[in-house]
């Protein structure tokens, strides 16, 4: 019996030749990511049990991304402490306002095929875009910081085979929403979702971050994408000089999967997650009676240059509706600069959008809060009641194209009518 990508990664990082599904192992993460939200709290806690230094500081990345620019005294104090601790503890990678953790790790070449990453943040699985296993551990990251190790029950894998290509107006968000429609929480619990197939090669690495990052919202432990030439090319352009060969990282042909589903990308239509959960998925074209006041394009899963290009293409020749506030946040400073160079931010602001510095901000209600009775359509990760402010506000989640089209009309809108030339 062959091994899945996940089994191969966990075998290597636990010093074993092979691992079985369901067994408990101690693995040693190659990368540990902690945002300013919690890093200082973890250090405080491990100091309480007598830990004075990090097990592998060179593997640790600390990122100030949730409150950028800082807008509270408490936040300023937290950032000051975070900077001090990062320096004191000699963490290998420190980013202060350079972008959102997950896209930043990929863009900076800090994650590569076959690596195992432990993340403090829920959407750590986005790093699976480059064939790495990245698992959110929350406060358990404190244990990784202290010991360099974490226990894992080796998860089974659900294989999602993608075929064909998305039609114009349909994108990565619609692929992951289609996946959620086929897999309930009992199917995904304690399992990894692995994307593979020729359809995967139609997606850029940032688009793969969308489909992997949102696996956690489908209830899965993580998401991972098979490695192909497009991924290798991306990594080389981003400073990963010698990525592991595909065959050694990808699942073996005779690997054991818990289940397999097939998705024909050419049949997909634009979809929307309706409140109160990302897994409550509806067709965008059936939602046109939903009037919105706010629209947001950004977050770790949808703030890439591709998302901003797609939004700008939809908005070209149009204006944001007079009753709608459209906020666009490039996920990283590099994406921000690229969007500036391509003239996209000029186009978007001319159409009526507001642009903010790279941050997680609106996704968890940190900025741009909603009040009772308001609705936002958003490319962010979650739509639980109260996630963006009032419990009586409603959040709808969709692709950058659907959000841009809805910002034009003032109600939830299928973007295919506006799409001119496809996902790219």
């Amino acid at each position: 019996m062959g091994a899945t990508m996940t089994q191969k990664i966990l075998a290597r990082t636990s010093g074993r030749s092979a691992v079985e599904h369901g067994e408990i192992i101690w693995a040693s993460p190659d990368l540990v990511t902690a945002p300013e939200v919690s890093f200082s709290a973890y250090i405080k806690r491990i100091r309480e049990i007598g830990v004075t230094k990090l097990a592998h500081p060179e593997r640790v990345a600390v990122i100030i991304d949730h409150e950028v620019p800082v807008h509270s005294i408490a936040g300023a104090e937290r950032n000051k402490l975070t900077r001090k601790l990062a320096l004191e503890l000699s963490v290998g990678h420190f980013f202060d306002g350079a972008g959102i953790t997950h896209p930043l790790m990929v863009e900076q070449g800090l994650i590569a095929p076959g690596m195992f990453a432990a993340g403090a943040d829920s959407h750590a699985p986005g790093l699976g875009a480059v064939g790495a296993l990245s698992v959110p551990f929350g406060f358990e990251v404190s244990m990784v910081l202290a010991t360099g190790q974490i226990w894992m029950k080796v998860p089974e894998t659900i294989r999602v085979r993608l075929n064909g290509a998305c039609a114009p107006g349909v994108g990565a968000r619609d692929i992951v929403l289609a996946t959620m429609q086929q897999l309930d929480d009992e199917a995904t619990s304690y399992r990894v979702i692995e994307y593979q197939g020729e359809g995967l090669s139609t997606l850029s690495v940032p688009e793969r971050m969308t489909i992997c990052g949102l696996c956690v919202d489908a209830g899965a432990k993580s998401g991972i994408a098979a490695v192909d030439q497009r991924c290798i090319d991306y990594l080389r352009e981003h400073g990963v000089s010698n990525p592991q060969p595909q065959a050694s990282v990808n699942s073996d042909d005779d690997a054991d999967y818990a289940m397999t589903i097939d998705i024909d990308l050419s049949t997909l239509t634009p979809r929307v997650s309706i409140p109160p959960s990302p897994t409550h998925v509806r067709e965008a074209q059936a939602m046109s009676d939903i009037v919105i006041q706010h629209a947001y394009i950004g977050s770790c899963v949808s703030g890439s240059i591709e998302d901003i290009r797609a939004a700008a293409a939809i908005l070209r020749g149009h204006k944001v509706h007079a009753d709608v506030n459209l906020l666009v946040i490039p996920a990283t400073q590099q994406v921000f600069q690229q969007a500036l160079q391509e003239g996209l931010l000029t186009e978007l602001t001319a159409a009526g959008a507001n642009i903010s510095p790279s941050t997680c901000g609106p996704c968890f209600g940190g900025i741009a809060q909603l009040t009772a009775g308001e609705r936002r359509i958003s490319t962010s990760t979650r739509n639980d009641p109260g996630r963006m402010g009032s419990n009586e506000a409603e959040i709808f989640l969709a692709s950058a194209m659907t959000v841009a089209a809805s910002a034009i009309t003032g109600h939830i809108t299928d973007p295919r009518a506006f799409a001119k030339g496809g996902v790219q």
Binding site: I24, V37, R78, M143, A146, D185, R382, G386
Partner: protein, 174 residues
């Protein structure tokens, strides 16, 4: 009388059942607006505050949260489990997704996975005596004795140590 006792054989508890539905999300347990707060003494006041405000005010050590499937789904936030640990409450749930399950264990919150039949036999306010190490649940109010699968010995060791950091404390090289 309510109490929580950790003996050599593991955790037992005696207290009130606080019953909740299925699909209580992580954000419902503690709103994402408290994401920067990590002090358990503060977080305990926010637990389920927007679903059932009296819970955090009245819950006692030894009480248990009884809930249906997919408990704490969504965000992988540590906050609800820091709060449960601070309150001294345990968990009986039909299912718990992977992230929150781990966090409950890591914080040293005693957990049992229960069947629908067990859930149906417990109403809000019932008095429960629970032996987590054996999976034995005694509904004192109805007199019913129930049995479920306990956690694996490895996970019980972590909970009984008081959580993940206490569990690994002895192995630290520092």
């Amino acid at each position: 009388m309510t109490a929580e006792v950790t003996g050599a054989t593991g955790k037992t508890s005696s207290g009130r059942a606080w019953k909740f539905s299925s699909d209580i999300s992580s954000d419902q347990l503690i709103s994402a607006r408290h994401v920067f707060e990590f002090d358990p003494r503060m977080l305990r006041h926010h637990l389920l505050a927007e679903v059932r405000p009296e819970f955090a005010q009245q819950a006692q050590p030894g009480d248990v949260i009884v809930a249906g499937r997919n408990f704490a789904h969504g965000s992988n936030h540590s906050h609800p489990f820091l709060a449960m640990k601070a309150l001294g409450v345990g968990l009986l749930v039909r299912s718990l997704s992977r992230g929150p399950f781990r966090l409950a264990i890591f914080m040293g919150v005693p957990v049992l996975m229960v069947t629908t039949e067990v859930l149906d036999a417990i109403d809000d306010g019932h008095q429960l005596d629970i032996d987590f190490s054996r999976g034995a649940i005694h509904n004192v109010t109805t007199g019913q004795q129930m049995q479920v699968e306990p956690l694996s010995p490895f996970l019980q060791d972590i909970v009984n140590a008081g959580g993940g950091l206490e569990f690994v404390k002895t192995t630290l090289v520092n």
